[in-house]
């Protein structure tokens, strides 16, 4: 994995920005920028964090890893000033602090960049950077031209070009993160906390983010990097801190530790195989997509998925993979071509028809697309069955609950009651509910879009085993994934997309990190 990232990044011309100034370099010393020990936080009787420990040195990128529920988010929120500390020692540059608000944290030079940056869509880029501290003129009013100039100066330092005057609406997530980083720099932040920043980025965008991060490190800043992706952690970080069940486990130098060791510490047990796809008997063609095109989004997409087969759609974010899947399922329409399931053509732009024909779709955004977060586990799991469960147009509540229970228990969804809101479940269990509601429809084709994004290692391998198992039972599976190891480990065949076209079809044997990445970036090679 580590090797893969290195070879892949070496394909890009390194064009490092230096934000190095002599004074800042001189500041590099042994005193940690930030150090917290014995951090505890309880909400009422719920202990979210029992013993949080993190230390960030100047000029260091420090990884924080742990399963969901390990207390990472709580720790981040404490550092960000969103939560107050119940107990523990919290030092910033060697002096004790107690944050009450976000402003306190910012004043101490700590900036947090969240997975999905929260910009104000109606405000301009410049205003987003300077909100609450806009430069003022002699009259005490906001000086817009000064604000614009300062924003431009920040982008120049980062070596990016974003128009300070455009409104934030419609910016890519990668650009939004850059704006957050620009904001952090403008705040003279010495500690940058990145909470799963790469979860929604494409490879090229990840690389750009890493370069900015390395440049910040070179200038003496400290970065706390939270990620589920070990390849990134090992490619970028100097040290790794592991947490489990709200407690500190260990801190390692990246050079002296391996992925299996870290995984072991995270889960407290060994995970057998990360990608347990077993070969299944391949049957007839289930899905046949022919010359599917949508102007400006994807064009001339043709492929088949056979029973028992897992076909992966690989490529960079924005290559059009999700868009193709959405069109196949009928969420979006298409201009040309057709989709056949078991030899019968599907109506375009009609998800209900697709469901009736036997397609299930596990979408990429679990919270917004996969589940109705405020409905109960049972209602969510039975939502796909609502037409099938009705008799003479009416639904019987008991039958509904029983149908839901069958599949949630088969997938071992951990919840005390079917009546709990699904939002109270952990990410991994939520994903199981999504899978349950689709398996309940007994699909012949299952489309899974980023099936393991943002879920913990344990559940992740459960999901992988499940997908493999489903394929073994003759279900055709179309999988979209941005994690190359997942693609290579799970897929019987890999379709690689680039800029809305399929650029390669690779069999399991031919699919390697190099061949997939080559096809995914085909255009840029020239």
């Amino acid at each position: 994995m580590k090797r893969f990232i290195l070879s892949y990044s070496s394909m890009w011309r390194h064009n490092l920005v230096m934000i190095n100034s002599p004074e800042m370099a001189a500041e590099r010393s042994k005193t940690p920028l930030l150090s917290i020990r014995g951090a505890a936080k309880a909400f009422g009787p719920v202990v979210a964090l029992a013993d949080g420990v993190v230390e960030i040195l100047p000029g260091e990128i420090h990884a924080l890893v742990g399963e969901n529920g390990a207390g990472k988010s709580t720790l981040v929120k404490i550092l960000a000033g969103l939560y107050n500390l119940d107990a523990g020692e919290f030092l910033v540059k060697g002096k004790p602090v107690a944050f009450r608000t976000v402003a306190d944290s910012k004043a101490e030079g700590i900036s947090v960049i969240y997975q999905e940056p929260t910009l104000f869509p109606d405000l301009t880029v410049a205003e987003n950077i300077f909100i609450g501290r806009q430069p003022k003129n002699a009259l005490g009013l906001i000086n817009r031209s000064a604000m614009r100039a300062q924003a431009r100066a920040l982008f120049d330092r980062l070596g990016v070009r974003i128009d300070p005057d455009r409104i934030a609406e419609g910016l890519s997530i990668a650009d939004q993160q850059i704006i957050e980083i620009a904001k952090a720099i403008s705040l003279d932040a010495s500690v940058l906390i990145m909470d799963e920043p790469t979860a929604a980025l494409s490879g090229i965008e990840v690389e750009r983010l890493f370069q900015v991060a390395r440049a910040l490190r070179a200038s003496g800043a400290g970065i706390l990097f939270i990620s589920h992706r070990f390849d990134e952690v090992f490619a970028l970080c100097d040290r790794i801190t592991v947490m489990r069940d709200g407690e500190y486990i260990s801190t390692h130098s990246t050079e002296s530790v391996t992925v299996p060791e870290i995984v072991h510490e995270m889960v407290g047990r060994d995970i057998g195989e990360l990608f347990p796809k077993v070969a299944a008997k391949v049957g007839d063609t289930i899905l046949n997509v022919s010359k599917l095109s949508r102007v400006g989004v994807f064009s001339d997409i043709s492929f088949e998925v056979k029973a028992g087969e897992i076909v992966a759609l690989a490529g960079l974010v924005g290559a059009g993979r999700t868009e193709v899947a959405r069109a196949v399922f009928g969420i979006d329409t298409y201009d040309q071509g057709f989709v056949e399931l078991n030899g019968t053509r599907l109506k375009r732009n009609n998800p209900q028809a697709a469901i009736d024909a036997g397609i299930g779709f596990v979408p990429e955004d679990r919270r917004k697309q996969g589940l109705v977060m405020d409905l109960s586990v049972a209602r969510n799991a039975a939502l796909t069955l609502r037409n099938r469960l009705s008799r003479f147009g009416l639904i019987n509540g008991t039958t509904e609950r029983r149908a839901a229970e069958e599949w949630t228990s088969r997938l071992q969804v951990k919840t005390a009651s079917q009546e709990y809101k699904v939002s109270t479940l952990s990410g991994g269990n939520q994903q199981k509910v999504v899978l349950a509601k689709w398996l309940a429809t007994e699909p012949i084709l299952l489309i899974v879009d980023e099936p393991t994004r943002g879920i913990d290692v344990g559940t992740k391998s459960e999901v992988h085993r499940l997908l493999s198992d489903l394929a073994g039972r003759g279900i055709a599976i179309l999988m979209i994934s941005s994690e190359l190891p997942e693609v290579l480990g799970m897929a019987d065949r890999v379709l690689v997309m680039h800029e809305g076209r399929i650029t390669a079809q690779l069999d399991r044997a031919d699919a390697t990190a190099e061949s997939v990445m080559h096809a995914a970036t085909a255009q840029l090679e020239h």
Binding site: L141, I204, R208
Partner: protein, 349 residues
Amino acid sequence: MTLTSPAPSQETPPKTARRATRDFASVLRWREIPVTIALIVLVGLTYLANPLFLSQQGVKDLLLNATIVIILAVGQAMVIITRNVDLSIGSILGIVAFSTGTLFVAVPGIPIVLVFLTGMALGALLGAVNGLLVTIAKVPSLVITLGTLYIYRGLNNAWAGGTQYFAGDRPDNFGALSVDTIAGFPLITLIAIVVVVIVAIFMASTRPGRDLYAIGSDPEAAKLFGIPVTRRVLLAFLSNGILAGLAGVLYASRFNSVGATTGTGLEFDIVAAAVVGGVAIFGGSGTVAGAAIGALLLTTITSALTAIRVDKFWQQAIVGLLILAAIIIDRVARIRTQKKLRLSEARDV
């Protein structure tokens, strides 16, 4: 836009494209352009049909009719920009107008300035109650202010009963505010213009003003940014209350009688004025100047239809169509701008 792009491509997007991007972005911020054009066209056409429309008296009437609606629309705009709404303003205006009438009778010879201050303080109190309920109980403002719409109106009814105060009960120089003019502008209209200018500067060029936009744009993010959301939203409701109070005092100056039902049913007209003026109903964008122009447009239509002798029964239907037109134009403009922004971004990468 990327760090890794090779050197030559860094100059590829021509300057024109970049300027275009900025222009589109600023067009989006100039949401009041359509309503301004509509107002100019309306006034122009009506004038051609009936030149008396823009006589000195005609203009004065136009402005007088618009004044109170303008002040209310400006206050409402502040609230809507924070992604809230205040339906209780008609009731606030009613109470304050009646209290103004009462004050002149109860305290003969009371200075007019004191009357204004009292009215605005009462408005502030009622607005603050709205604001506190919305921010502390975290219940949508639509529900809370629907409740206070009833409660304030009920209090007004209970207080006024069958009592009405007429213009004769008030000093002449108070009524003169709506009669005397400076350079053709009635005094109360000048007050409204001063209000629009002050609030416009506050909203466009002060940090708390920009915070209101940020809150309306994304309330959760605003909290994360450390913007004092509760205080700012409270401020918006408080300001709206003060302005509704001011409008109530001016109402007592402008109109003959004030009583239990004064200001009933105003709420949707005022929200409509703000929306027509380009204030997005879900917050985050629009300006108070736009809201003021929207108010002027809606009140002018009534006069214009009379001036060109259109059956008066058509007026409300036309107002309704105008509101719908404003919403649709806004949506079309937004979709087009987004498309342009996306294209320009694609070019930029």
